[in-house]
């Protein structure tokens, strides 16, 4: 720094600061530009398409219709069903996967014979192709004739229950929970392993019970890890498409369609570009409202914790 000072003194301090600022920001720009072009630009086009009547099956029919597409979205009961399904599937999947993940991580957070092997077994469902996971649950686990679940439930008189057609949402959530539990477990495990042993030992010396210690010491420590798991899990589960496509095709009817699947149907099976673009915009606005609130909250915790650390 001292070597550069005499040269820098010739320029005004503000100019130096600006130049330095740019050189600091320069490495950021390619990534920023790439993301703007690939994600934000298409969205502007989505907004543009959403005020047009445009069906690919009738290429000549393209025209400006104002907010008509939006009016149609809000009076579309199937869209409402899909929105409610999205919330139901995401909330139940993230909640159950997180609870299971915490329980499994607690079991893994001690030394025992074959710990590495059990952890390897437990993370495997997260690594299996989700499309394969969906087929596995639909055809091998839930099949009413040959399925393992039916075989295991035969003594209880539920042997030939057709899970996927009678309880499509439950079936989809089951496959998703199975897939996402290892992810939550890994995050919570990382949190547990960063927890100081001395704190736990101090608690033991004080004679605190296991449950008391979990609630009073471990859970607050895990808070940020749990928040991150809920945030990342929600981001990915909200966009679930493959599981529904492979297991139920949104059916029966639209009983298990979520928003990604419903909009896909309108776009690629109905070819209704204008209408599905309007749905996309509505989904984005809805997501932004929910996400900003959640993200701001989580960011505040992260940033304040970080300042506290350094």
């Amino acid at each position: 720094m001292t070597a550069a000072a005499p040269a820098a003194r010739r320029r005004s301090p503000a100019a130096v600061e600006r130049a330095e600022g740019w050189s600091r920001r320069a490495p950021l720009l390619p990534a920023l530009a790439f993301m703007l072009v690939v994600t934000q630009l298409p969205f502007l086009f989505t907004v543009f398409y959403s005020v047009q009547s445009w069906n690919l099956l009738r290429p000549d029919s393209r025209s400006f219709v104002g907010l008509a597409n939006y009016a149609a979205v809000f009076t579309d009961t199937q869209f409402l069903t899909a929105a409610l399904n999205t919330i139901l599937i995401t909330a139940s999947c993230v909640l159950v996967a997180m609870l299971l993940g915490i329980a499994l991580a607690m079991l893994l957070d001690r030394r025992f014979l074959g710990r590495g092997v059990v952890r390897t077994l437990l993370i495997t469902p997260f690594l299996v192709l989700p499309v394969a996971t969906a087929l596995l649950w639909k055809n091998i686990m839930f099949d009413p004739v040959f399925g393992l679940i039916g075989f295991l439930l035969t003594p209880f008189g539920l042997g030939d229950l057709d899970w996927v057609s009678q309880y499509p949402v439950v079936s989809v959530v089951t496959a998703l929970v199975w897939q996402w539990t290892p992810f939550m477990m890994l995050l919570v495990l990382a949190g547990l392993q960063s927890q100081g042993r001395d704190v736990i030992e101090a608690g033991q010396v004080d004679g605190a019970g296991r449950w008391q210690m979990f609630v009073a010491i471990t859970l607050p420590h895990l808070r940020r890890y749990i928040e991150l798991g809920v945030l990342l899990g929600s981001i990915y589960v909200v966009n679930t498409f493959d599981t529904i496509y492979m297991m139920t095709q949104g059916g029966p009817g639209t009983a298990s369609a979520n928003l990604p699947f419903y909009i896909y149907q309108r776009t690629f099976l109905g070819f209704d570009i204008g209408q599905s673009a309007a749905m996309g915009v509505v989904v984005v606005v809805g997501t932004i409202i929910v996400a900003t609130l959640a993200l701001r909250l989580i960011f505040r915790t992260f940033m304040s914790a970080q300042e506290g650390n350094s």
């Binding site: 993301m35 298409p42 192709l129 004739v145 075989f151 495990l189 890890y225 996309g280 993200l295």
Partner: protein
């Protein structure tokens, strides 16, 4: 403990009682520990049993796969794997490998400098930039697929594996920047300043000073990107056809197999998942470390 003991009245007998209690609780702990170990193993096996059953089914003849009750003993065969390969699996595999590896490499090329910029001397703008990156993950893919489809059709990039490469890079870049930044924050500031003092430029600082320190973190980030790229289905099924389709699209062919081709379905699912499962198993330590640092920094 011992220094404080004489101060209390009647402390003379006190040390023995806790010692005995500890011994008893330690014996209790061993029994409890064994029970917990057995329980953990049992839960682990039950949890993974669908995968075990899938792999087992892949080695069956179709007649053994579709039975009620399920068959556990059978003559294993590799026929179903051969049938999957004969059905033209390899081109799908090739597309998946290209889309996954190239997009992951691109994510690192774009993401490492960005994360570096966001980690040194954090300014107010840093938070805004980070917020922007993460917020793009909030954008549902369905909201952009229409213009992407139209644009790709316009420039004749439909059914092209490079379209997937670009989209997967954009899909994974935010999470990669987020994770990588937390690893950069771990590097002592002095190391960077010393390198800069010696006149090293940005590429040199990143390549020969930072990367060796951050190797585990970069590995974890790359692994996460590879998992999500390999498993991606939405763009693959909507933007590709015969030429550029990836492994998940190959699986669509089994959607209507109502118990008829269970063994072949299982063989295909096993082959399709195997590469990422193996990579994930090998790198699981880095994964735990990477995720944890992303959480706290």
């Amino acid at each position: 403990m011992t220094t404080a003991a004489p101060a209390r009245p009647g402390a003379g007998s006190a040390p023995r009682t806790p010692a005995r209690a500890t011994a008893r609780s330690r014996r209790g702990d061993t029994a409890r520990g064994t029970a917990l170990t057995v329980l953990t193993w049992a839960i682990g096996l039950v949890f993974v049993s669908p995968v075990l059953w899938l792999v087992l089914t892949a080695f069956k003849q179709e007649a053994d796969a579709a039975t009620s009750p399920p068959t556990l003993l059978f003559q294993p065969t590799l026929d179903r794997f051969q049938a999957v390969l004969d059905a033209g699996f390899l081109p799908y595999l090739g597309n998946s490998v290209i889309a996954t590896l190239v997009s992951t490499a691109l994510v690192l090329v774009l993401g490492v400098p960005a994360a570096y910029a966001l980690s040194i001397r954090p300014v107010k703008r840093t938070q805004d930039a980070l917020f922007f990156f993460i917020s793009t993950k909030m954008l549902p893919v369905v909201a952009v697929v229409v213009p992407l489809y139209v644009a790709a059709a316009e420039i004749a990039m439909l059914d092209n594996v490079w379209t997937l490469v670009v989209l997967y890079t954009a899909m994974n870049l935010p999470i990669a920047v987020w994770m990588l930044r937390s690893f950069f924050l771990e590097v002592p500031k002095g190391v960077i300043e010393a390198a800069q003092m010696e006149g090293a430029n940005l590429v040199r600082v990143l390549w020969s000073v930072m990367l060796p320190i951050m190797a585990p973190g970069v590995a974890a980030t790359a692994l996460i990107c590879m998992i999500f790229s390999w498993n991606e289905f939405f763009f693959a099924v909507n933007l590709t056809a015969a030429q550029a389709a990836t492994v998940p699209v190959f699986m669509v062919g089994f959607i209507t197999s109502e118990g008829l081709f269970l063994a072949q379905l299982s063989a295909a699912a096993t082959l399709a998942s195997l590469p990422i499962v193996i990579v994930g198993w090998i790198a699981q330590r880095q994964l735990v470390r990477g995720l944890s640092m992303g959480a706290v920094k």
